[in-house]
């Protein structure tokens, strides 16, 4: 709160620059690891210089609690499977929110922050911190399936949210005028409740936007605490994170052709409807004029192809099919087929989800292409294999103006000579929308679990290679 000695200011500046370089490194996979190391160095510098500040005295306690957190973080980082990255990021977002709320409350109890600006800062720190915390906890629970992915809505929801917003503003005014604990702790309750009710109403398919927004909020929460304790390093770092999450939510919103505000209003999507017994699925599909293919036919067709594009979706992550897919790719390449992957910006449950899964399965990143760079290649593609994806290849987005996803950019799978869709049933995906791609003449549906089907395809190709 007083002006810092020059050495501290310089150290904080260096740390800020190292964090910026860490983010800059992510412009290419080749420089990303080095960037991450620079970030780690920046964190060491920042924590090191803070330890020699006069107000930091309780070394024993600080070391103990930092060690507890560090060990927990290390265990999480070492053990978490890549399929669980979305909920892990959700959990990490929540911790920043909680820490920000605690630091803001601590600063309030320490006193000396009674001016109007100081009070507003504390109020904002508490509000953003609490919403980030409870909202992220719900997002975490939804992403790992402990709370239903379907939007949970109720009548009068928007009115209630509005009421909570008004209540928060009133509490803020009360707090700024009186500097009492009562309105501040009521704010804790209202903001925390709001975070829960807000995120619980948003459907699973909208999670890429939600997790990006909460990531952004965690940054703004750090900014607020930076203002409270008068620390530029927190302000700079928080702004970087806030901008990052904000930009990701813009990119995700564009990928779905939805405004961010419509996503945040919630209530979109029907939840996971995929289920049903095999006989029923086949009968239903046949009745609707769907071409049903079996694994042998599919494998034979792929073997005779020259160009194959694989489109992975959330179903790939759920079925843990990334490793069999790598095997399939290698088999096909051994037969002289060129195999590439097409990634839609909102495939999966978080930005970049599919890229990480494919990387985990050892699929080289130069074989994995973004929508814009591969979409023009579909007409020259023999087989497009759609694995656990639905909305991102739904042609209604192109030609049915009444469809809720009309206008969303899609991967042009339908333009390839043959489309193979591996899916558990004909039921619509998370958005609850039917997909005309499934009924096209050049489409072949292969019903089953993505992992089992791909495994069977690999076996079939192996058999053919031996014979």
């Amino acid at each position: 709160m007083t002006s810092l000695p020059a050495i501290t200011t310089v150290a904080y500046l260096v740390a800020s620059i190292l964090f910026i370089l860490a983010l800059k490194g992510l412009s290419s996979p080749a420089t990303a690891r080095k960037g991450n190391l620079l970030g780690i160095i920046g964190m060491f510098i920042a924590v090191g210089i803070t330890l020699v500040q006069p107000e930091v005295q309780a070394y024993g306690r600080i070391a103990l609690f930092a060690a507890i957190g560090g060990i927990v973080g290390g265990i999480v980082a070492k053990k978490v499977p890549m399929t669980a990255m979305p909920e892990t990021v959700g959990l990490f977002n929540s911790f920043v929110g909680l820490a920000a709320a605690l630091v803001s409350l601590g600063a309030f109890h320490k006193g000396g922050h009674t001016g109007t600006i100081g009070s507003i800062e504390i109020f904002l720190g508490v509000v953003i911190g609490m919403v980030t915390w409870t909202g992220s906890v719900i997002a975490f629970l939804k992403l790992n399936g402990r709370v239903s992915g379907a939007p949970i809505t109720w009548p009068g929801r928007h009115a209630l949210n509005m009421l909570m917003g008004i209540a928060a503003l009133a509490l803020g005014a009360w707090f700024v005028v009186t500097h009492e604990a009562m309105p501040l702790y009521l704010t804790v309750v209202v903001a925390g409740l709001f975070g829960i009710l807000w995120i619980i109403a948003i459907g699973g398919a909208d999670m890429p936007v939600v997790i990006s927004i909460l990531n952004s909020y965690s940054g703004w929460a750090s900014v607020a605490t930076g203002f409270i304790i008068g620390n530029d390093l927190l302000i700079i770092t928080g702004s970087l994170v806030g901008a990052s999450g904000f930009i990701l939510s813009i990119i995700m919103g564009r990928g779905m052709n939805r405004s961010i505000s419509s996503v945040l209003m919630g209530g979109f999507g029907e939840g996971d409807l995929e289920a049903g017994d095999a006989a029923n699925i086949q009968a239903q599909a046949a009745a609707r004029g769907v071409n049903i293919g079996d694994v042998e036919v599919a494998a034979e067709l792929m073997r005779g192809s020259r160009e194959i594009i694989i489109i992975p979706g959330y179903g790939l992550a759920v079925a843990q099919a990334q490793h069999p897919v790598r095997e399939l790719t290698e088999r096909l390449e051994a037969e002289g087929v060129r195999v590439r992957f097409a990634i839609h910006p909102v495939a999966g449950r978080m930005p970049g989800h599919m890229n990480v899964l494919l990387a985990e399965a050892n699929i080289p990143y130069d074989q994995v292409l973004e929508m814009d760079s591969i979409n023009s290649d579909f007409p020259e593609t023999d087989v497009t294999l759609v694995l656990g994806a639905n909305d991102i290849v739904n042609t209604d987005a192109l030609d049915l103006p009444s469809s809720p996803i009309y206008g969303m950019p899609i991967l042009d799978a339908y333009k390839s000579r043959t489309v193979m869709v591996v899916k558990r049933s004909l039921n619509p995906g998370f958005s609850g929308i039917d997909n005309p791609l499934f009924y096209r003449e050049n489409t072949m549906m292969v019903f089953g679990d993505a992992r089992e089907i791909v495994d069977a395809m690999v076996k079939e190709l192996k058999g053919a290679a031996v014979a």
């Binding site: 964190m43 309780a58 070492k78 990490f92 304790i229 970049g352």
Partner: protein
């Protein structure tokens, strides 16, 4: 007020820097971007140390200690999982 304005200046400039840098991140690395941003938001550790690190263990001190533990999860967990993830990205 003067102090507030100087922090506000830093804030606005940092937002511009963030805006410029993040748009250059390749979409393939958006998940590591999120996990590394989790790690660097662990910088709130510094705030928790300053706000709750005095010798006397009063209420702000206790709140600060809990905040330190959670921030440390993010710092260690975030950087580590990012490094692990980035190690998986390889060229043909």
């Amino acid at each position: 007020m003067e102090e507030f304005l100087s922090h506000l200046t830093v804030f606005v400039l940092a937002c511009f820097v963030g805006w410029q840098v993040i748009w250059k991140v390749t979409p393939a690395l958006h998940t590591p971007l999120m996990s590394v941003s989790n790690a660097i938001s662990g910088i709130i550790l510094v705030g928790a140390m300053i706000a709750g690190g005095e010798a006397l263990l009063d209420l702000p001190g206790k709140l600060g200690m809990v905040a330190i533990a959670f921030a440390a999860i993010n710092v260690v967990g975030g950087f580590w999982v990012t490094q692990r993830m980035l190690g998986m990205f390889r060229k043909r």
